[in-house]
Amino acid sequence: METVTLNHYIILSSILFGLGIIGFVTRRNALIVFMSVELMLNAVNLMLVAFSRFRADLSGQVMVLFIYTVAAAEVAVGLALLISLFRHMRTVDLTKFNILKG
Protein backbone atom coordinates (compact mmCIF):
# COMPACT_ATOMS: atom_id res chain seq x y z
CA MET A 1 0.00 0.00 0.00
CA GLU A 2 1.26 3.41 -0.93
CA THR A 3 1.80 5.72 1.99
CA VAL A 4 0.05 9.05 2.27
CA THR A 5 2.44 11.88 1.48
CA LEU A 6 2.27 15.64 1.77
CA ASN A 7 1.09 15.90 -1.83
CA HIS A 8 -2.13 14.06 -1.07
CA TYR A 9 -2.97 16.52 1.65
CA ILE A 10 -2.16 19.47 -0.59
CA ILE A 11 -4.39 18.11 -3.35
CA LEU A 12 -7.26 17.52 -0.92
CA SER A 13 -6.81 20.96 0.56
CA SER A 14 -6.80 22.66 -2.83
CA ILE A 15 -9.94 20.78 -3.84
CA LEU A 16 -11.65 21.94 -0.65
CA PHE A 17 -10.50 25.51 -1.27
CA GLY A 18 -11.77 25.38 -4.84
CA LEU A 19 -15.16 24.11 -3.73
CA GLY A 20 -15.26 26.97 -1.24
CA ILE A 21 -14.55 29.48 -4.02
CA ILE A 22 -17.27 27.96 -6.19
CA GLY A 23 -19.78 28.21 -3.36
CA PHE A 24 -18.68 31.73 -2.49
CA VAL A 25 -19.07 33.09 -6.01
CA THR A 26 -22.01 31.16 -7.40
CA ARG A 27 -24.52 31.02 -4.55
CA ARG A 28 -27.01 33.75 -3.72
CA ASN A 29 -28.01 32.67 -0.23
CA ALA A 30 -25.92 34.62 2.24
CA LEU A 31 -25.85 31.73 4.74
CA ILE A 32 -24.35 29.36 2.20
CA VAL A 33 -21.80 32.01 1.26
CA PHE A 34 -20.80 32.14 4.92
CA MET A 35 -20.44 28.39 5.07
CA SER A 36 -18.26 28.49 1.96
CA VAL A 37 -15.92 30.90 3.73
CA GLU A 38 -15.72 28.40 6.58
CA LEU A 39 -14.85 25.69 4.08
CA MET A 40 -11.98 27.78 2.69
CA LEU A 41 -10.66 28.46 6.20
CA ASN A 42 -10.73 24.74 6.88
CA ALA A 43 -8.79 24.02 3.71
CA VAL A 44 -6.06 26.37 4.92
CA ASN A 45 -6.12 24.71 8.34
CA LEU A 46 -5.61 21.30 6.78
CA MET A 47 -2.66 22.61 4.79
CA LEU A 48 -1.10 24.15 7.92
CA VAL A 49 -1.45 20.95 9.92
CA ALA A 50 -0.08 18.87 7.06
CA PHE A 51 2.98 21.11 6.71
CA SER A 52 3.42 21.05 10.47
CA ARG A 53 3.42 17.26 10.41
CA PHE A 54 5.79 16.84 7.49
CA ARG A 55 8.24 19.51 8.63
CA ALA A 56 8.07 18.26 12.23
CA ASP A 57 7.45 21.84 13.38
CA LEU A 58 4.69 22.44 15.89
CA SER A 59 4.15 26.14 15.03
CA GLY A 60 1.66 25.28 12.30
CA GLN A 61 -0.73 23.76 14.80
CA VAL A 62 -0.54 26.91 16.92
CA MET A 63 -1.40 28.97 13.83
CA VAL A 64 -4.48 26.79 13.35
CA LEU A 65 -5.64 27.84 16.80
CA PHE A 66 -5.44 31.52 15.80
CA ILE A 67 -7.38 30.77 12.62
CA TYR A 68 -10.06 29.24 14.85
CA THR A 69 -10.18 32.48 16.82
CA VAL A 70 -10.56 34.57 13.70
CA ALA A 71 -13.22 32.22 12.31
CA ALA A 72 -15.24 32.41 15.51
CA ALA A 73 -15.07 36.21 15.52
CA GLU A 74 -15.99 36.35 11.84
CA VAL A 75 -18.99 34.08 12.29
CA ALA A 76 -20.27 36.02 15.30
CA VAL A 77 -20.06 39.42 13.59
CA GLY A 78 -21.21 38.11 10.21
CA LEU A 79 -24.29 36.38 11.50
CA ALA A 80 -25.19 39.42 13.60
CA LEU A 81 -24.92 41.54 10.45
CA LEU A 82 -27.06 39.03 8.60
CA ILE A 83 -29.76 39.14 11.26
CA SER A 84 -29.70 42.92 11.18
CA LEU A 85 -29.96 42.93 7.37
CA PHE A 86 -32.78 40.39 7.45
CA ARG A 87 -34.68 42.59 9.87
CA HIS A 88 -34.51 45.45 7.39
CA MET A 89 -34.89 43.65 4.06
CA ARG A 90 -36.84 40.46 4.95
CA THR A 91 -34.55 38.32 2.82
CA VAL A 92 -31.08 36.75 2.81
CA ASP A 93 -30.77 36.81 -0.97
CA LEU A 94 -27.50 38.56 -1.75
CA THR A 95 -28.69 39.91 -5.09
CA LYS A 96 -31.43 41.89 -3.32
CA PHE A 97 -28.96 43.76 -1.12
CA ASN A 98 -28.37 46.85 -3.22
CA ILE A 99 -28.73 49.51 -0.55
CA LEU A 100 -25.04 50.37 -0.70
CA LYS A 101 -25.26 51.25 -4.38
CA GLY A 102 -25.83 54.93 -3.60
Binding site: L6, I21, L39
Partner: protein, 147 residues
Protein backbone atom coordinates in the same frame (compact mmCIF):
# COMPACT_ATOMS: atom_id res chain seq x y z
CA UNK B 1 -22.17 20.82 0.46
CA UNK B 2 -22.40 23.65 -2.06
CA UNK B 3 -24.82 21.86 -4.39
CA UNK B 4 -27.81 21.49 -2.09
CA UNK B 5 -30.56 24.05 -2.52
CA UNK B 6 -31.51 24.46 1.14
CA UNK B 7 -29.08 25.92 3.65
CA UNK B 8 -29.89 23.29 6.27
CA UNK B 9 -28.70 20.17 4.36
CA UNK B 10 -25.74 22.29 3.34
CA UNK B 11 -24.93 22.89 7.00
CA UNK B 12 -25.14 19.17 7.70
CA UNK B 13 -22.77 18.51 4.81
CA UNK B 14 -20.40 21.04 6.35
CA UNK B 15 -20.63 19.11 9.62
CA UNK B 16 -19.56 15.96 7.78
CA UNK B 17 -16.58 17.82 6.31
CA UNK B 18 -15.56 19.08 9.75
CA UNK B 19 -15.69 15.63 11.34
CA UNK B 20 -13.74 14.13 8.46
CA UNK B 21 -11.11 16.85 8.78
CA UNK B 22 -10.87 16.12 12.51
CA UNK B 23 -10.07 12.49 11.76
CA UNK B 24 -7.43 13.64 9.25
CA UNK B 25 -5.86 15.79 11.97
CA UNK B 26 -5.68 12.73 14.20
CA UNK B 27 -3.84 10.96 11.42
CA UNK B 28 -1.46 13.94 11.17
CA UNK B 29 -0.32 13.68 14.81
CA UNK B 30 -2.40 16.69 15.87
CA UNK B 31 -4.83 15.37 18.49
CA UNK B 32 -5.34 18.74 20.14
CA UNK B 33 -6.28 20.39 16.85
CA UNK B 34 -8.72 17.53 16.17
CA UNK B 35 -10.38 18.11 19.53
CA UNK B 36 -10.60 21.85 18.85
CA UNK B 37 -12.02 21.14 15.41
CA UNK B 38 -14.84 19.09 16.87
CA UNK B 39 -15.60 21.41 19.79
CA UNK B 40 -15.18 24.82 18.16
CA UNK B 41 -16.24 24.19 14.58
CA UNK B 42 -18.70 21.31 14.82
CA UNK B 43 -19.86 22.33 18.28
CA UNK B 44 -19.97 26.09 18.50
CA UNK B 45 -19.80 27.65 15.04
CA UNK B 46 -22.07 25.19 13.28
CA UNK B 47 -24.67 25.39 16.05
CA UNK B 48 -24.66 29.17 15.63
CA UNK B 49 -25.08 28.83 11.87
CA UNK B 50 -27.93 26.32 12.22
CA UNK B 51 -29.57 28.56 14.80
CA UNK B 52 -29.49 31.52 12.41
CA UNK B 53 -30.79 29.34 9.57
CA UNK B 54 -33.74 28.32 11.73
CA UNK B 55 -34.27 31.94 12.74
CA UNK B 56 -34.28 33.31 9.20
CA UNK B 57 -36.09 30.49 7.41
CA UNK B 58 -39.45 31.88 6.41
CA UNK B 59 -42.03 29.51 4.95
CA UNK B 60 -42.92 30.10 1.34
CA UNK B 61 -39.68 31.77 0.38
CA UNK B 62 -37.60 30.01 -2.24
CA UNK B 63 -34.30 29.42 -0.55
CA UNK B 64 -31.14 28.45 -2.30
CA UNK B 65 -31.94 29.79 -5.71
CA UNK B 66 -28.88 29.71 -7.85
CA UNK B 67 -27.16 32.76 -9.18
CA UNK B 68 -29.02 33.84 -12.30
CA UNK B 69 -26.08 35.83 -13.54
CA UNK B 70 -24.22 33.29 -15.68
CA UNK B 71 -20.98 35.27 -15.71
CA UNK B 72 -20.68 34.83 -11.94
CA UNK B 73 -21.06 31.07 -12.27
CA UNK B 74 -18.43 30.89 -14.98
CA UNK B 75 -16.18 33.15 -12.91
CA UNK B 76 -16.51 30.81 -9.93
CA UNK B 77 -15.66 27.76 -11.98
CA UNK B 78 -12.63 29.45 -13.57
CA UNK B 79 -11.34 30.80 -10.25
CA UNK B 80 -11.50 27.48 -8.48
CA UNK B 81 -10.01 25.63 -11.43
CA UNK B 82 -7.10 28.08 -11.61
CA UNK B 83 -6.48 27.75 -7.86
CA UNK B 84 -6.38 23.97 -8.08
CA UNK B 85 -4.05 24.06 -11.11
CA UNK B 86 -1.77 26.59 -9.42
CA UNK B 87 -1.45 24.53 -6.28
CA UNK B 88 -1.06 21.35 -8.30
CA UNK B 89 1.82 22.87 -10.27
CA UNK B 90 3.76 23.59 -7.12
CA UNK B 91 3.43 20.09 -5.74
CA UNK B 92 6.74 18.66 -6.84
CA UNK B 93 8.75 21.66 -5.74
CA UNK B 94 7.06 21.75 -2.37
CA UNK B 95 7.76 18.12 -1.77
CA UNK B 96 11.43 18.57 -2.64
CA UNK B 97 11.58 21.58 -0.34
CA UNK B 98 9.84 20.05 2.63
CA UNK B 99 10.31 16.34 2.27
CA UNK B 100 9.33 14.23 5.21
CA UNK B 101 11.12 14.74 8.50
CA UNK B 102 11.10 12.07 11.12
CA UNK B 103 9.00 13.11 14.07
CA UNK B 104 10.64 13.79 17.42
CA UNK B 105 9.41 11.98 20.50
CA UNK B 106 5.96 13.06 21.69
CA UNK B 107 5.28 15.32 18.72
CA UNK B 108 1.98 17.14 19.04
CA UNK B 109 1.05 16.14 22.55
CA UNK B 110 -0.81 18.84 24.49
CA UNK B 111 2.06 19.61 26.86
CA UNK B 112 4.48 20.46 24.06
CA UNK B 113 1.75 22.39 22.27
CA UNK B 114 0.96 24.46 25.35
CA UNK B 115 4.64 25.14 26.01
CA UNK B 116 5.12 26.52 22.50
CA UNK B 117 1.82 28.38 22.69
CA UNK B 118 2.57 30.26 25.88
CA UNK B 119 6.23 30.95 25.15
CA UNK B 120 6.65 31.87 21.50
CA UNK B 121 3.09 33.00 20.81
CA UNK B 122 2.11 34.82 23.98
CA UNK B 123 1.60 38.19 22.30
CA UNK B 124 -0.52 36.57 19.55
CA UNK B 125 -2.58 34.92 22.27
CA UNK B 126 -3.30 38.24 23.95
CA UNK B 127 -4.18 39.91 20.64
CA UNK B 128 -6.52 37.04 19.81
CA UNK B 129 -8.30 37.42 23.13
CA UNK B 130 -8.78 41.14 22.50
CA UNK B 131 -10.08 40.31 19.01
CA UNK B 132 -12.63 37.89 20.47
CA UNK B 133 -13.79 40.49 22.99
CA UNK B 134 -14.20 43.14 20.29
CA UNK B 135 -16.10 40.68 18.08
CA UNK B 136 -18.39 39.79 20.98
CA UNK B 137 -19.22 43.42 21.75
CA UNK B 138 -19.63 44.20 18.06
CA UNK B 139 -21.96 41.25 17.48
CA UNK B 140 -24.16 42.23 20.40
CA UNK B 141 -24.27 45.82 19.24
CA UNK B 142 -25.07 44.97 15.61
CA UNK B 143 -27.77 42.43 16.44
CA UNK B 144 -29.55 44.83 18.76
CA UNK B 145 -33.15 45.69 18.00
CA UNK B 146 -32.50 49.32 17.20
CA UNK B 147 -29.17 50.22 15.67
Amino acid sequence: MITSRDPLPSALGLLTVFIALASLYLHLNAPLVAIFQVTIYAGAILVLVVFVIMLLMTPGERFGERQHNVSYRILGAILSFCTMILIGLGLKGIYDLVGEQTLPEGFGNPGQFGYLFFNNFLLHFEVASVLLLVALIGAIYIAKKKL
